[in-house]
Symmetry: D2
Subunit: 380 residues, 4 copies
Amino acid sequence: MKTEVAETAAQNRASAIPAHMKAWVLDGPDQLRLTEKPVPEPGPAEALVRVHAVALCGSDLEIISTGSPALIQGGLPFNKNWTPGHEYMGTITKLDPGVDEYRVGQRVAVEIHAGCGRCERCRMGMYTSCLNYGMNYGEHNKGHRANGFTTDGGFAEFAINHVNTLVPVPDGMGDEEATLIVTGGTAMYVLDTLGGLVAGASVVVIGGGPVGLMCAGFAKALGADPVILTDISDSRLKLALKLGADYAINVKCEDPVEAVKRLTAGKGAHYVIECSGADVLNQALEMVNRGGSICMAAFSHHPVMFDAMKLVSNNVSMYGIRGEGRSNVRRAAAIMKQRRFDARLIHTHTFKLEELPTALKYARERIEDAIKVVVRVREA
Amino acid sequence: MKTEVAETAAQNRASAIPAHMKAWVLDGPDQLRLTEKPVPEPGPAEALVRVHAVALCGSDLEIISTGSPALIQGGLPFNKNWTPGHEYMGTITKLDPGVDEYRVGQRVAVEIHAGCGRCERCRMGMYTSCLNYGMNYGEHNKGHRANGFTTDGGFAEFAINHVNTLVPVPDGMGDEEATLIVTGGTAMYVLDTLGGLVAGASVVVIGGGPVGLMCAGFAKALGADPVILTDISDSRLKLALKLGADYAINVKCEDPVEAVKRLTAGKGAHYVIECSGADVLNQALEMVNRGGSICMAAFSHHPVMFDAMKLVSNNVSMYGIRGEGRSNVRRAAAIMKQRRFDARLIHTHTFKLEELPTALKYARERIEDAIKVVVRVREA
Amino acid sequence: MKTEVAETAAQNRASAIPAHMKAWVLDGPDQLRLTEKPVPEPGPAEALVRVHAVALCGSDLEIISTGSPALIQGGLPFNKNWTPGHEYMGTITKLDPGVDEYRVGQRVAVEIHAGCGRCERCRMGMYTSCLNYGMNYGEHNKGHRANGFTTDGGFAEFAINHVNTLVPVPDGMGDEEATLIVTGGTAMYVLDTLGGLVAGASVVVIGGGPVGLMCAGFAKALGADPVILTDISDSRLKLALKLGADYAINVKCEDPVEAVKRLTAGKGAHYVIECSGADVLNQALEMVNRGGSICMAAFSHHPVMFDAMKLVSNNVSMYGIRGEGRSNVRRAAAIMKQRRFDARLIHTHTFKLEELPTALKYARERIEDAIKVVVRVREA
Amino acid sequence: MKTEVAETAAQNRASAIPAHMKAWVLDGPDQLRLTEKPVPEPGPAEALVRVHAVALCGSDLEIISTGSPALIQGGLPFNKNWTPGHEYMGTITKLDPGVDEYRVGQRVAVEIHAGCGRCERCRMGMYTSCLNYGMNYGEHNKGHRANGFTTDGGFAEFAINHVNTLVPVPDGMGDEEATLIVTGGTAMYVLDTLGGLVAGASVVVIGGGPVGLMCAGFAKALGADPVILTDISDSRLKLALKLGADYAINVKCEDPVEAVKRLTAGKGAHYVIECSGADVLNQALEMVNRGGSICMAAFSHHPVMFDAMKLVSNNVSMYGIRGEGRSNVRRAAAIMKQRRFDARLIHTHTFKLEELPTALKYARERIEDAIKVVVRVREA
């Protein structure tokens, strides 16, 4: 009953879509400007989402400073009136008439990538590896979207999402936690890539940022044993233990390779997940056991030295993953719905939309041990 | 009829097993000595193989110079009366009574690794990643064998093989070609690891040594299109074309990354197979397309610089493989039986058992464009 | 040079697209009528294909008699001016401007299914299992197409194809052989589903119709050993041997289960492929070895009795497959390009477009041992 | 400290291994006799387990009545002094000297199958599909063991286990719960076979016996949503809800196919697990969605009618699984260690070793709603 009332109210609100909205746009490197833009119209198979909250991700910091790897409209993403932000959630406000998978008023989280649906990778379900990445403009519009990367994102009051990039927010989950669903999707994509069934396997996570922490939480939720997280920050290590990690190793105090050997009866771990972006690949190779696998989920910005011999002689597999592919955002939402671990602990700070620059500063400089910083676009 | 006669003759010969045999043993780095050893006795689930021919592999050269990565009997492999050599074939001469999978007189090729059968990897079929690698001696004998690496190998008149390391030689295949079956097993393990079904996919092989050439031959036999091999030797490139490669690129004449882009409509290849042991990992990363895979099948002996960012942003998988795992030697034999390509072309030189040092010199220095050098232990 | 001339000519022809075309439409059960229809226009991501040749498939016979399982426009496919026919090939004559993957004048074969791209199955690459099957009309148009099943097919001078359902015809392949590419796609989907790497595995094909014969040909081309085909027709069995089967068993003369046991050293086969549509599932279960797999690729029209106990106690997997999914049409084209076996032998009869009813009669009644009957829409 | 004391005590007890033990043997159909037997000696890679508790399984009932499918020592299992019972746990009492993976005094649960390690299936890790099933006797002893099926089992004071069939009991888990680890191994093998990552997928379990209940518990623990269990017993349905099922359907009150459609938005379930042994295969086919999978985990004893057409047209996969393969017993122990659901609720009755016939009667006739009946061999 209550739900119905709420939905009706939501639909009423939805019906009052303004013509313009507040949105941040990127003028130059690290030059964001809050402006007004027309509220966009959903095209075929698309929805208009009224953004409630949007979390900041390391790649936001990067893209705002240096631009997207896949350039917007064939040039740098600067001075294009382009809006970044990709970890958002909100309420569906308008739908293309062909969309019956969702309804107006429904709370949704997002995934970033909508593939073109026609390249070799998309045809096989690997839509985050779309060969037409970035092609959503002009003559050769193939329909690829990576919201907040190559198409407008969520640092705004409204955003457009292809139906493939929506996932319902589980009942009872707050807005801030819901922004973590897409982060959880990356963590689940890691575990999916590593084989899916991690129960009983030993898992090391290098780096206790949001993705690393989610990896630890999900790995434990799915039965990995032990789950070991390494970092240099005691507050993040403490949090890792709260989220389910069995061991948290401060690499300033203990050699992480030795720690992993000690905790795995000398054998090394079945799976090592690299979430730090640091030059730790050889460390990962020393940690993983013969026949084991490494997944790299963080962008690192310098070439790393790498003992290729070890990869071969130990029959190790190494996976780079991009984003939150193969429908793992939905898997993440399903597990988060069960509250196996309290993902809300990862969220440390909240700012208003107008305060985005401050929010970015907190995220970049890890002020007050900031982990996940969320910008609220609407009042709760 | 003819076969039966041949078999009876074989069995008669088999019945006359001498007490001693000629065998090369490794006294020190690069110090091989031809000596006499007792002919070994097959234990449970084992066969005695009368060696006919044994091919030289790059890892023979290495192990003879610097020792095995997995040490023999807990020490360097020197001065242990230990016999290297692992790419051999011959005739079954004696069988443990419990073995009914083979019969005396049968011609067999070998694979190298017999797993312990009880570690986590062996239990899941990954016997070349056995966690008890090298443990075939003393108190903690777990039964692992890597013939020619950690247990006696084939530079001798007789060798012991666990039943799991035997594969019948197809009718009509000569001894020298049959020594290539195990090499083919590595090539098939590469293709298996890359997904198995390479038909219609673009495949680049870096390095035209025996494993690289077999990869090219098998990839084409299984329908890959195009198959591109890169090397610096014109004779090997020419051979690659004969074995089925569609394109052979001399990297001294053309940038291999540009060549691959040109031959794959700018997209890059689905699969890149590294068989050179050189520092070409970044090259491989430039060649492979988004979502594609790289397999490393060669031991390289120096750390390589590696653009980890590319692996992540392009969602690339990278597999190190060891040996010829997951029953791929049998697959290789089945395809070679069909003579899709003439693997005999890879075999360039033959020597007698007594001439092993000369044979090794030819292989090491690539004298007369040597590719696969075979030592004949018995007259044909 | 020659090719360029041919292409220019093709483009010229292409430019002269008529307003109307001949097309067969289905008025009632088995009531086909040759009529005139407007030549359709390609929509977004679509091509107009000038049909050269179209092969008849068992499901054509069925759909013409009883209608499609997925009904056209929410009703029986009768009296809708609907054109069946799905195994066609031809020349691209017009392209949606957004399509740069193909060019006008290019010869193409087709696959049947274009998924909606937005259901759970399509998102994971299983577009032949699209949950929006048949939804290409009216309000809830999700964009699914199964040409000749739920959307207009190839018994006409022109047909519309989504870019995802096109595959280039290899150079030098004739029109009739090219109509078999889609059949080959089903055979490859079978092998893909069974694990991909069939080299060295024993494969039984039950039923020597076009799909069964292609399965035998592809399995052998990919190194399966032995390949055994069973049927009741000596002419089809003879053909199976020509296409690469090692053994052809006439089930009227020999019990097929005993034959398979005899030819697999008593163990049974690794893979059994059911292509007959007959009540042979228990036979397949008797033929397959412990841990083996069965793939069902034929529609059967009566419930079958089935020893479920055997499936469980022998740890057998059983796959029903629909169509030619997971990009296997492209794989098929790549292998057929290599001419490992002469697929043209499967094509036995040719008729003109006007003779479609006679062609169907030949196919249905297997007149003159008809196997694959092709209707030529254009002169060669 | 406490643990050390307990272990020392255990080792002392272990040192006092008697020469004889109580054991039930099978004289004829349903004719069990309690007798004395010599305590067996562990062979290579084996352990002697002092049995603490053994649970009854449906296949015990069957094998005791009609004999094992794989006959003991080449004949019926009757009058061979053979001891059934396979779901046991206990303490390691003696070890072959080569075993260092376990220690005397360690509490262990078991899995049933030790493969031969040398057939094609075992070589690929499918040891429950061993092609040498039952061959542990006489001339052709290949080393396969299926304790309680083809080799002596656990209705006795001691039992022999190959090191591959042992798994440590998690700390703090009671004996009765530990007997369920092997049942959990079957449930995890089901989920592994269905793809591993069931998070977010809809799962139907048909039949609320111990395996079905464990499937429901594990599926939910791994994030499946919703989990639906069907049965005819209200007490079992109630239990299913306690173990994590979202919905429990009494098929006497509601058509289960309609219920599943209702609970899955009309689409059907991603996965259907058949644990009832009843003739419900067509029901499963109606429940599963296009592209979905069915796993059969129960032995059924009558041929079932089966709509093969549906399997094909809906692209459904169907897996028969035997036992608890691919190391899933270890996975089950890892999840049970986390107490996601209270598996102890499945255990309803306890009897003494001497009371085995009564225990079997309770299990067979489901007296007092018996689900899992446990026989305690030692006092707790």
